[in-house]
Amino acid sequence: MIPTVSISGLSISLNATLFASLFVISRIPMFSMTDVNLTNNTLLISSNRAIFAINETQNVNLSHFSMFDTKMKSSSLSPHFLFQIISPYGVGNSITMDDLLISGDNILQLTKALDIQGEFRNVNISNVSISDLSIVSGAILSADMAHRDEKTLFIWFGKRTASLLTLENFMLQNLSLSASNIFDFSKH
């Protein structure tokens, strides 16, 4: 198993149809990504696919992300994702995101910008600025927290542990939302 993957200085500018996720990171204990920029993208994306699909990774760190003039559209009636982070099991899993900027003429249709599913101890997202964003039937953040089974739930609770999502310093301006959420938090 590769213990750590780091990506730094990534720029994406595409006019493409995506039938699969663009980046897939699976079973990496530590994944970090910094200085990522998406500019002038026009993307038609299949349902349940993501630009960044991150699965079963214990620690995810993302910093200095920016997106300008990007259009994302689903090729079906199901959503796709800018980031999708799934953790079916892991008491200590965490996600940290800092310094995210979305500006310019961005249009997201059936898009969840960040989709989080599964078991996480801490999710920290800070210093986010979003302006002039249009979303149709999507969300900025969708988080569906769950435990793998009842035994796992008892282990968490027995340790006096809860899943904690901390979102700090968000500035959202000039949003246009149709049948969309800014945040959708749920537990099952």
Partner: protein, 338 residues
């Protein structure tokens, strides 16, 4: 962390969260949704927008929602638009919930509450227009503490806050002792604001619901034909405990400079299904055309449970108050200009 209740395992904290100038359209949806997740929102606000058929927040009654230092400024809630609304939930609660047992292990225990609290504290609501109920909740525990409502326009047959038990499911849990109750982790289940009014309450009673309005200011309010606050609570306990106490506390609030377009036949504040009501140190000024300030009715018309309605009046400037029984077990408090 206040209001941490039994089995609460996912918590979301939003801090310094600001939304300015947003355009909402399409089928009904909510900007921020909490489903079985505790929400704590502090130092945040929504500014400068108007919209229809949408809600800013929706929450299930099994989610605690706590707002501290929240600002709502220059928002025009048009048709079927709300600040906080209910999301329907299919609560299939079998009466047991995750807790920590006496040996310190996680286990399922019987009779623990599953419904949570809604609390809005230290918050500012300014230049708000609305035509539908601004805040709807079926949380049994409602805390409005130290909030300021200024430049509020109620433009429909509606209410600023409507708190009732919208879901008629089995209330399969015991009563809440409130003063002494602690959660599975040993923390008190109630927030700091409770300590300021705790002395008013009968410590021997267990409560099924508690609605507290304390140190709020309602100023420069325009009303067409509306109520400020409507509380209607069902018993939350098992049916055999149907005489359990539903408590309303309305203390140290200021209502001033209300402009009402015609003589209202409905009182400003309506509390029904109540068997303990404590009103103290409230101030009322310039409530023109208001025919009633409070309407209180008992939990059950045929109930033998004792009721306690404690009123300490404090009225200022050109005001007087007449207290008279309107009909059996129902009381109106009228306001008249001198």
């Amino acid at each position: 962390m206040p209001y941490l209740t039994f089995g609460e395992i996912v918590i979301t904290q939003l801090t310094n969260f600001t939304v300015k100038s947003f355009n909402l359209s399409g089928p009904r949806s909510s900007l921020i949704v909490f489903r079985d997740v505790k929400g704590i929102i502090s130092n945040s606000g929504f500014f400068s927008s108007s919209f229809s058929n949408q809600a800013l927040f929706s929450v299930t009654p099994t989610s605690n929602l706590i707002m501290d230092n929240f600002t709502l400024n220059q928002i025009d809630f048009r048709e079927i638009a709300n600040f906080i609304t209910l999301e329907e939930t299919n609560l299939d609660y079998n009466g047991s919930q995750l807790s920590i047992n006496s040996s310190g292990n996680a286990s399922m225990e019987e009779g623990l509450i599953v419904y949570r609290a809604i609390s809005i504290q230290n918050s500012q609501f300014q230049d708000i227009f609305f035509r539908s109920t601004l805040i709807s909740s079926s949380h049994p525990y409602v805390y409005f503490v130290n909030n300021s409502f200024t430049g509020i326009s109620l433009l429909g047959n509606t209410a600023l806050g409507r708190f009732r038990d919208f879901f008629q499911d089995d209330k399969n849990f015991g009563l809440w002792r409130m003063r002494n109750e602690v959660d599975s982790f040993g923390n008190r289940l109630i927030g700091r604001e409770f300590s300021t009014v705790g002395g008013l309450l009968n410590t021997s009673l267990e409560y099924a619901s508690f609605s507290m309005f304390y140190k709020n200011k309602f100023q420069s309010v325009t009303i067409v034909y509306d109520a400020l606050i409507i509380v209607e609570k069902k018993d939350l306990s098992k049916s055999k405990q149907s005489d359990s106490s539903n408590l309303v506390l309305f203390k140290s609030n200021i209502l001033s400079n209300f402009s009402i377009s015609s003589v209202q036949e409905i009182p400003l504040n309506q509390f029904s299904m109540v068997n303990t009501a404590l009103f103290e140190d409230n101030e009322f000024q310039l409530l023109t055309n208001t025919s009633g300030i409070f309407e209180i009715s008992k939990t059950h018309q045929d109930s033998s449970a004792p009721s306690q309605f404690l009123i300490q009046r404090k009225f200022l400037k050109c005001c007087s108050c007449i207290f008279e029984p309107h009909r059996s077990e129902r009381y109106w408090f009228y306001y008249h200009n001198r």
